[in-house]
């Protein structure tokens, strides 16, 4: 299965990583983060580590440099790098190999760069520190890497400060930093997760080309199977610190053996037919809005309609004005021009002058369920408050209705006295949905509600939302940057770009060519779960630009 002729650059055998947890009010106890994991990486190959949050992928990635994050211990097994066991290597030896043999690319480049130093200084720092090459050579190599990674003006790029370049460029600069000392192995820890899809594809292409050109081996950590399918030769699927499946990319994607891997591969395959139009529950007409104290319109002349019981997906990159549109509709940010009609009534622009019915019938669900619930209130209080506030329910009647709502979100009545900290991420989001439902709304604004969740959990939430729509006839305004989610749930789509709606219509219309330039770019940038997707996109983009 794996190419055994080449020697193993990195070989991890029966790795076990432990940490001590301190649950409040209990004695400290040992937790096993990674249990009995064995993998190997050969020269010039890329191993993808994939799994949900808490699967131990970053922990394994860091162990390749014999590093364990605060509190964790590399408790057992072997980590063989270039043939020697580095698991219990001393500080001096580790200092020698980190940055020379293994380098690391972090998820958040913006947080990893020193804002006070120019990029060039930071990119060549490791090479100089290890005395691998003289400064002139290091700088020349950095410029060469900048060029390979497709950065603009490679000659002068290094003289900029981190805040002067974009997030995607910064991520590529960090890749250059990792490649500059000519390491044997690079650990990429979710390098594209924090980026927009259209940026992600550029960074992916750059990373893939750089790996190929320099012949370096890599560990590529991500939670997105479609992404890892584009760059990795082999894939290790992890769950709860244990190996689920290990094989070549082709085998994992095309013929997964384990049920968990199959679920990961087939995620987001919800089939959703468009519903016919009916009377609009929400009409947004010519809305223009700006934030206080600025003279820049965040929304420009936005017009969309949403039929009762339908889902309107608002898509766009970060900064396109999607969330601002939600704030304008909810009244948190009064629009400077335009009109919002909701359930046949004209909504007043600011929150304070809206009627209780306006507030009740328009509910909102947030991206981060953690911060959307008061940590000091029980699930019962969180769901019960709207019941009490809008309908005056008290005592047993309120409790009975809370139970009913908990049933609706597919959680048992046993959750009523729990605190948010005692729930999983998916359960938290479900409670937020129940809180919105409690008000018997006509429209729920869903602001990136699945973005912070693992794919399988997100799938469950989307299915729940669809089932609730079927039963309660509630309309959704669904804000997202994830086009796979849009395909799963939308009836209508509005594509936003720089505060304007560039494309609006039914799902089939919006997703069928001919596209405008931006929608085309956006749609073609969404990674697909098949091998060679990246190459085919690049080929078709080259062809188009060649034709122009």
């Amino acid at each position: 299965m794996l190419d055994q002729v080449k020697t193993n650059l990195l070989e991890i055998k029966n790795l076990r990583i432990e940490a001590t947890s301190y649950p409040p009010g209990e004695a400290p106890r040992k937790v096993v983060l990674v249990d009995d994991v064995s993998v190997s990486v050969q020269q010039g190959r890329v191993l993808g580590l994939i799994g949900e949050s808490g699967a131990g992928k970053s922990t394994i990635g860091l162990s390749a440099m014999s590093f364990a994050r605060g509190g964790a211990r590399l408790a057992g097994g072997q980590i063989l790098l270039n043939g020697r066991d580095i698991r219990e290597a001393g500080a001096g030896e580790l200092r020698g190999l980190r940055g020379r043999e293994v380098t690391y690319v972090a998820q958040s480049a913006a947080a990893a760069f020193n804002p006070a130093k120019r990029l060039m200084e930071q990119v060549i720092e490791t090479s100089l520190h290890h005395k691998l090459m003289p400064r002139a050579e290091a700088e020349a190599r950095a410029v060469d890497l900048f060029r390979k990674l497709g950065l603009p003006n490679p000659e002068t790029f290094g003289s900029r400060y981190p805040h002067q370049v974009s997030g995607g460029q910064l991520q590529r600069a960090m890749t250059a930093m990792a490649l500059c000392p000519r390491p044997d192995l690079v650990v990429f820890d979710e390098p594209t997760t924090a980026l927009d899809v259209t940026t992600q594809i550029d960074v992916l292409v750059a990373i893939k080309a750089a790996i190929r050109d320099t012949g370096v081996a890599a560990l590529y950590i991500t939670h997105d199977l479609a992404v890892v399918a584009q760059v990795a030769d082999d894939i290790l699927v992890l769950r709860g610190g244990k190996k689920v499946e290990y094989g070549t990319t082709d085998q994992i994607i095309n013929s997964p053996q384990q049920a968990y891997t199959q679920a990961l591969v087939s995620v987001r395959s919800i089939d959703h037919a468009e519903k016919p139009d009916s009377a609009p529950v929400l009409s947004v007409a010519n809305i223009t809005a700006r934030y206080k104290g600025t003279n820049f319109d965040v929304l420009k002349n936005v017009t969309v309609d949403l039929s009762a019981g339908q889902t309107l997906a608002v898509v766009g990159e970060s900064g396109s004005g999607k969330s601002t549109l939600a704030r304008v509709i909810t009244g948190l940010l009064p629009a400077s021009q335009g009109r919002i009609t909701f359930a046949g009534r004209t909504l007043s622009a600011d929150l304070a002058s809206r009627t209780k019915d306006d507030l009740r019938e328009l509910q909102m669900i947030y991206q981060m369920a953690d911060t959307a619930m008061n940590p000091r209130q029980t699930v019962g209080t969180i769901i019960g408050r709207p019941l009490e506030f809008y309908f005056g329910l008290k005592g047993a009647a309120k409790r009975a209705r809370i139970q009913e709502l908990l049933e609706e979100i597919e959680m048992g009545a046993g959750f009523i006295d729990r605190y948010p900290a005692e729930l999983s991420g998916g359960q938290k989001q479900r409670v937020c949905i129940a809180r919105a439902l409690a008000a018997k709304p006509k429209l729920i604004i869903c602001d990136e509600v699945t973005s912070a969740l693992d794919p399988l959990v997100a799938d469950g939430i989307l299915k729940l939302l669809l089932a609730l729509q079927e039963r309660e006839g509630v309309a959704y305004l669904f804000i997202t940057h994830d086009l796979a989610t849009v395909k799963a749930i939308a009836d209508k789509i509005a594509v936003m770009y720089r505060g304007q709606v560039v494309r609006y219509g039914s799902k089939t219309d919006v997703l069928t060519p001919p596209f405008d330039d931006y929608t085309d770019l956006l749609l073609s940038s969404v990674p697909e779960m098949k091998l060679g997707w990246l190459e085919s996109v690049l080929a078709s983009r080259k062809m188009e630009s060649g034709g122009n």
């Binding site: 409040p24 009010g25 909810t330 009244g331 948190l332 929150l351 809206r354 209780k356 507030l359 009740r360 509910q363 909102m364 947030y366 981060m368 953690d370 911060t371 959307a372 619930m373 008061n374 940590p375 000091r376 209130q377 408050r385 709207p386 506030f389 605190y419 948010p420 900290a421 005692e422 809180r435 008000a439």
Partner: protein, 272 residues
């Protein structure tokens, strides 16, 4: 049952003891507060466990009544500073705008003047009664509480659950008392202990300077002042109240430290 660290346990026992003595001073004290029972600065004896003071009153009795006065004034001042400081702080944080600006700048103004000097000036202008002492101490200390509670509440007001409450149409009262207060309580409770200590030290300082509790009543600071002349002749009567002040400050501090360390866990949740 949660394990209480030794230091916190010592702090709790000592603090509890001081408060017990203060509350039941009239029952515990062996003599009357201003009764002359012996000579000037009599040494320690079976009848007078701490000896007598500068005019022949029983020092232990004076100390017990002193505890009552000190703790009463400090407690009242702390409660006053907390109620005004936190209510105004939360109000400023949730209302924002000009109200926040006006309150915050006014507090900056007050804090720019050293508290001791400002209170000495005020106390020379008004009658030095217990009520006035409490008012002056409470309001001046409220500036500190305002700063803290506003800072804590500003962090909480931007949370999505506060926005959700606002979108639901909740009034400011609900937002302050049900959404913000429970989440701001831990740092405020820890601050409560510290402010109490500062109040004890402050009233002692004022009394030592002669602008605090007036004779024949005396708090610990006043007792130090009355007996300080004896130190020159090697008579240790002034040390007893001084030690009591230090002991109370340290024991409350131990408790406050424990509360603070318990609540700064990054676990979220109830912080319990």
């Amino acid at each position: 049952m949660r394990r209480i660290p030794l230091s916190a346990l010592i702090g709790l026992i000592l603090t509890g003891g001081f408060f017990f003595v203060a509350i039941f001073a009239q029952l515990i004290a062996p003599y009357k507060m201003d009764e002359l029972v012996g000579g000037v600065w009599d040494p320690v004896s079976a009848a007078h466990w701490l000896g007598t003071d500068s005019i022949g009153r029983d020092l232990l009795t004076r100390m017990i009544y002193g505890a009552q006065v000190t703790i009463f004034v400090a407690t009242c001042a702390t409660i006053l500073s907390f109620v005004t400081g936190s209510v105004l702080g939360f109000l400023a944080a949730t209302a924002g705008g000009w109200l926040d600006q006006a309150l915050s700048r006014f507090v900056d103004l007050l804090m720019a003047i050293p508290t001791l000097i400002l209170s000495l000036v005020i106390l020379t202008a008004v009658d030095v009664t217990t009520i006035n002492l409490i008012l002056v101490m409470g309001f001046l200390d409220a500036t500190r509480v305002f700063r803290l509670s506003r800072a804590v509440a500003v962090d909480i007001t931007v949370m999505d659950y506060v926005e959700a409450a606002r979108l639901r149409g909740e009034g400011r009262g609900w937002i302050i008392f049900s959404e913000i207060l429970p989440n701001a309580l831990s740092p405020l409770v820890a601050e409560l202990g510290l402010r109490f200590i500062f109040a004890v030290l402050f009233i002692s300082t004022l009394s030592f300077l002669g602008l605090g509790v007036q004779p024949p009543l005396a708090d610990w600071g006043g007792l130090v002042k009355e007996n300080s002349a004896g130190l020159v002749y090697g008579i240790p009567a002034a040390l007893a109240p001084a030690i009591a002040i230090a002991a109370l400050a340290i024991s409350v501090n131990l408790v406050a430290d424990w509360v603070l360390s318990r609540t700064t866990s990054l676990k979220g949740g109830r912080g319990a």
